[in-house]
Symmetry: C2
Subunit: 439 residues, 2 copies
Amino acid sequence: MSKIEGLSGFPEYLPNQQLYFNHLKELIASSFESAGYCPMETPAVEKITTLLSKGGIDQEVYAVHRYQDKSEKTEAELALRFDLTVPLARYVAQHYSSLVFPFRRYQIAPVWRGERAQAGRYRQFYQCDIDIIGEEQLSLEHDLEVLMVLKKTLLALELKNFSIALNHKAVLMGFLHSLGITQEQMIGNVLRIIDKKNKISRETLRTELTVYVNTIQMQSIDALLDLQGNNESLIEYLQHIASGHELLMHGLAELQRLLELAQLFGCADVLKIDLTLARGLAYYTGIIFETTLGDYPQLGSVASGGRYDNLAEKFSKKRLPGIGMSIGLSRLFAALVANQQKTQHASPAIALIAIQERAALGTYIQLANQLREEGLKIELYLEHKKLVQQFKYADKKKIPFIITANQQELDANIWVLRNLTLHQESRVPLPDLVLRLTS
Amino acid sequence: MSKIEGLSGFPEYLPNQQLYFNHLKELIASSFESAGYCPMETPAVEKITTLLSKGGIDQEVYAVHRYQDKSEKTEAELALRFDLTVPLARYVAQHYSSLVFPFRRYQIAPVWRGERAQAGRYRQFYQCDIDIIGEEQLSLEHDLEVLMVLKKTLLALELKNFSIALNHKAVLMGFLHSLGITQEQMIGNVLRIIDKKNKISRETLRTELTVYVNTIQMQSIDALLDLQGNNESLIEYLQHIASGHELLMHGLAELQRLLELAQLFGCADVLKIDLTLARGLAYYTGIIFETTLGDYPQLGSVASGGRYDNLAEKFSKKRLPGIGMSIGLSRLFAALVANQQKTQHASPAIALIAIQERAALGTYIQLANQLREEGLKIELYLEHKKLVQQFKYADKKKIPFIITANQQELDANIWVLRNLTLHQESRVPLPDLVLRLTS
C-alpha cells in the first residue's frame, strides 16, 4: 500500500475551502468579463525553448517528458508554464492574424515553479492575469482601465483596505538621469538595490548603493526614499526637480495625465504614487504598480503589473505593446480563508431533501427536480438511513436547510422546512418553499 | 527568434471558441452542483508512484522534474495525472477523516497522456467527472442519481439525441458462468474480445473467440450479440436463461430494480440495456454504462462510468465503494464547435461603448460602470480612433450592440443603441438601454 501524504508546495483544499476558492475565482472572472476581457486558456505545457526564451527563470522550470522515453530524457521538449505572460506572448504571436486588436484577454490558471519548498512558497499556484495588447502604442486610457478593473476586482473580493502603489519608468529613470546616473548597467544596479527598500534596512541599502553612487547622488536618493506626502505633493516635488531633464519631464507629464484620467475612471482614491517603486523595469516601459492590503501587509504585493512596449519580441517581428496585471490568487486565498465565515459549507447545496417515507421516493425526487429547475442546488439523501442520521449528515456538511415530509404531510402537499442555522422549522406548501429558499 | 507553432495534441482555442468552451464547462459544473456535487481540484501533478499504482497506463505518463536537476532525472518523483480517478482515490484516502460520506464530488479538469499524436487523440484533454463515494455499500438509488445527472447534463448541453447503454457486471459474468466459462482469466479473455464488438467484424470476433470457447458456447455468445429489442424484452430473455444460475439471477434482479428506479429518477427513456457492453470490468463491480450521441456516432462513447467496490485499495485499508462517471469534454467540444452558431462572438461583451466625444470620456465611462453594475458585460473603446473604426472593431468581434452618443445626445441624456445583428439603430434614455440589453 502506498503511503499517502500531501505534496509539499502543491496546495489542495477540502470541499468547504474549495467552494470558497471557486467562489473567489468566479468573482474575479466575472469582474474581468464585465469589462469585456475574453477568457484564454493555453496548455499547461509549452515548448521548453519557448519558456526559456524569457531567461532568468530556468532554474525553476519543471521539464516534462514521457515516462517511457527514458532515452530521450536529456532532450525534454516540454515544460510546465511558470507564468501566464510567456504563454500569452506565444499565443498572440502564433494567432496574430486571427485576433482583433486591441486584444483584451484574461487567464486564471495555475502556474508551476520548482522552487525549494518553504513557507508561503508554492510550486503550483494560481495567477489571474489581464492584458490589453495593441498593434500600436495604446492610449493612456488603457492603463487606467486595467487599474480600474484591478480596483473593482479587489472590491468584488470584499477587500476594502488596499492601495495601489504607482510609479512610471520614465520618472524613475529620469530622476537618475537628473543625478547624472545615465549608464544603463549602473542604472540597473541602482534600481535593483532601491527595489529591495522594504526588505532591507536603510543602512544596508545605503551601504550597497555607495558602491555605485557618490555622496551627492546618495543624498538625492535618500531624499526620494524619505519623501512623504500625497500624490499632489509628490507631483509638485517632481515639477520642482524636473526642469531641464527631458525624460523626467516626459514621465511627469504622463503621470499627471494618468492621475487626471484616474478621476474619470474612478480609481484616483486607491492610487498612491511611490517614486521609488522599481519593479520589473527591464521589461516594463511605462507605468508600474503593486498592490498591498492594509489588513494583510505580510502578503506583500498581491497584484502587480505595468505597461510594456514589446510583449513578444522573442516570437514575432511585430511590435506588440500592451499593459497588464496579475493577481496572485493562491497567496491571497491562504490569507483570506483563515478569516472567512464563508468556508463552513462542505456542499454547494442550499438544502438537503431527507427521505422520510421510502415508498414515496418518487415524490421527493420530483421535489428535488422542481427546486433544481428554479436554479436551487439541492442534495437528495439516498442512503436507507433513519431521519436522525440524515439530519446529522446535513449538519456535518453545514447545509443550511433540510426539507422533508411524512406521509400525512405528503398527502397534504406540505413540506417541512428546517433552518439549521436558526434552528427553526416551518410547514410550507411548494411555492412558499421556493420563495423561502431563494429569498 | 523562436519559431512558433502549436503543440500537436495540446488543443488551444481562439477567443470565440474559448468563450463557447467555457460556456459548456459552466453548464456542466452548474448541472453537477445543482445536484449537490462539490467541486474538487487536485494538483496537476501527483507522485509518480501514486499514478503508476493503477498500472497499465505507465506508457502514457508524463513525468515531471525540475529542469535544473539534470542529475536527478532518472528518479523523477512527479508526473502529470492521466485521469481524475487516481487523484480522487488518493484524495479520499488522504483526507478521509475530514470528509463527510456519502461524498459527492465533481472535478472538471485537464488530464495528460503522452500518446503518440494522431487525429482525435489529445495529449491534454478535459474530463468532467462525478463520483459518489460511500463508507459502506451505497444503495442502488445512487447509481440512478449519477445516470440522472448525466442525462440532465447532456440536455443542458442541448444534446437531445443520445442513449446510455447499460449493463451489469453480474449479468455478463453470470451469463458466461451459465455457459460454463468460469475461470477468471478465461472470462477476461472472452470479455476483452466482446468489448471490441463495434470495432471489428463479427467474423474476426468469432475467429478470436474460438481460441477460448467451444461451438456451443459460441452459439450462445453469438445469440447474445444478435439480441435486439427493448429493455423489457431483454429482461425477459434474461429471465428465460437465468434460472438456476445464481450470479445471473443476482445481476438480473439488480438490473430490474435499477430500471424501476429509473422511472422515479426520470431517466428510463435514455437507458438502453446492452447485454454485451463489457467495459472496465476489472475495476467495475456493478453497473457499467456508455453514452453515444445519435448525431455524432463517430465520437464513440462521450460519457461512461460504473459502480466500483473499492476506489482506493492502493492507498487505504478502508474499503471505499462508489459510483461515478466521466464526460470527455474535449472530444465532445471538437464535434460541437463545428456546428455551433454560438461561436461567432470574440468578446464576452454584449455591447461596445464607442467614444464619439473625447472630451466627454467621463460620461461614457460612467455609462459603462452603470451597465456593468446591472450585470452587463461592456467593452469601452479607448483608442483615439474615428467612429467608423470603432464600429469596425465591434463588427470584427461580433459584439451584438454598439452604444454611443454625440454631444447633443449626451446633453439630452439620450444614447444611440445600434443592433449589429438586425442593423437597427434607436435613440433611448438610460433606463430603456438597460431594458433593451437585458431583454
